[in-house]
């Protein structure tokens, strides 16, 4: 495994993410997370049309503060996340330009519009759930999981059960042959 190989062992990557979390805790006093940034992005868009709304809406007022400004550390993390992924893909010539995934195509056809609408709706539902729970796969799953948080392991279990149920509802047992 080198910087140029396409795929690293998932165990090695897991160790890498674990060590990365040591670094953010130690140097920034922060835990890895991503989903709060979506609130900051929608807040930035809101600020363009109605800046006072960021102060009157209780959720924006709670999430966007002096200590966690609109463009906070996590905003920059999410900004460079695709750059890091692009760099990894470029080094290994491993880009994956994908409009409609194979499994989706098998079940719902090759329409790009249909897939785009599903991805959009999936995104809406995903973040609604993440904000209700207070975190996502990184903030709850990894950061909270490694701190042995009761909230995070509950979230992890709930999202896994629901993800499995939804995947089987969408693609069925037959879908397992087409992943």
């Amino acid at each position: 495994m080198s910087l140029f190989s396409r795929r690293w062992s998932p165990y090695l990557v897991g160790v890498g993410i674990g060590v990365l979390s040591w670094a953010t805790f130690l140097t920034l006093d922060k835990a890895l997370g991503t989903s709060t940034t979506m609130v900051h992005v929608s807040g930035a868009a809101t600020a363009l049309v109605a800046p006072e709304h960021l102060k009157t809406n209780p959720y924006y007022a709670k999430e966007i503060t002096e200590k966690t400004p609109l463009f906070d550390w996590q905003f920059f993390l999410v900004l460079t996340l695709p750059v890091g992924a692009a760099l990894a893909a470029w080094l290994a010539r491993d880009f994956n330009v994908e409009h409609v995934p194979a499994l989706w195509r098998w079940r719902f056809g090759g329409s790009r519009l249909k897939r785009a609408i599903a991805a959009f709706l999936g995104g809406v539902i995903l973040i609604y759930g993440a904000r209700m729970a207070g975190g996502c796969t990184s903030g709850h799953g990894i950061s909270g999981g490694l701190q042995l948080a009761v909230s995070s392991w509950t979230f992890f279990l709930a999202m896994f059960v629901s993800g499995v149920a939804t995947a089987f509802a969408l693609f069925g047992k037959e879908g397992r042959k087409h992943v």
């Binding site: 674990g18 809406v124 539902i125 209700m132 629901s162």
Partner: protein, 189 residues
């Protein structure tokens, strides 16, 4: 409006490394995420459990010797965490990514991940506008505070970390054995 300079540099570097690692494990792939939910690919579980065990050892060690002043545990508002998790799972199976892997997938070329990102921003706006209606009810129901399993049981966190490490090792052994069997069967088919 902007964080301090060191925090911005920290965020930039963390994002670069995190994105790089996610791509190298291919958890930026729709097929890998759906493969986990359909139990044909266990990459997601391998990455997450290894990260949790590795992270836990370092964080609790540094917390123990005082290098880390406090933990960052999220409140156990059980109703919101459970319902939020159930909603999140539906979204993740439909989109095929979670928030971090969606953004990383866009970086390695996934086009539908871009629509997923738009959806996530709209979802955040929708949540901000609707949460005032349930912030004093659902979000506060069964809230046990910022507790860990060590707090609840009054046991050492190291017992849980050791248990988790052994459990993960057991799960990994089973998965590896299963993967070999599938490969063998494909070989003779």
């Amino acid at each position: 409006m902007f964080d301090t300079y060191p925090m911005i540099v920290g965020g930039v570097l963390t994002g670069l490394v995190f994105g790089f690692l996610l791509q190298k494990a291919h958890v930026t792939r729709y097929s890998v995420i759906l493969g986990q939910f359909l139990f044909t690919d266990f990459t997601v579980l391998k990455v997450m459990l290894t990260a949790i065990v590795t992270g836990g050892i370092g964080i609790y060690a540094m917390y123990g010797i005082g290098w880390i002043p406090h933990l960052q545990i999220k409140t156990a508002a059980m109703a919101a965490v459970t319902l939020g998790g159930l909603i999140f799972g539906v979204g993740m199976a439909l989109l095929g990514y979670c928030p971090g892997t969606d953004v990383a997938a866009a970086g390695e070329g996934s086009r539908h991940a871009l629509y997923g990102f738009l959806g996530m921003v709209v979802g955040a706006a929708l949540y901000s506008e609707t949460m005032p209606y349930f912030k004093d009810t659902l979000l506060k129901a069964f809230d046990y505070g910022k507790i860990s399993f060590a707090d609840v049981t009054h046991l050492s966190p190291w017992i849980f970390i050791a248990g988790l490490a052994m459990l993960s090792a057991g799960i990994f052994l089973l998965i590896e054995r299963w993967e070999k069997r599938v490969q063998f069967r494909r070989g003779i088919a």
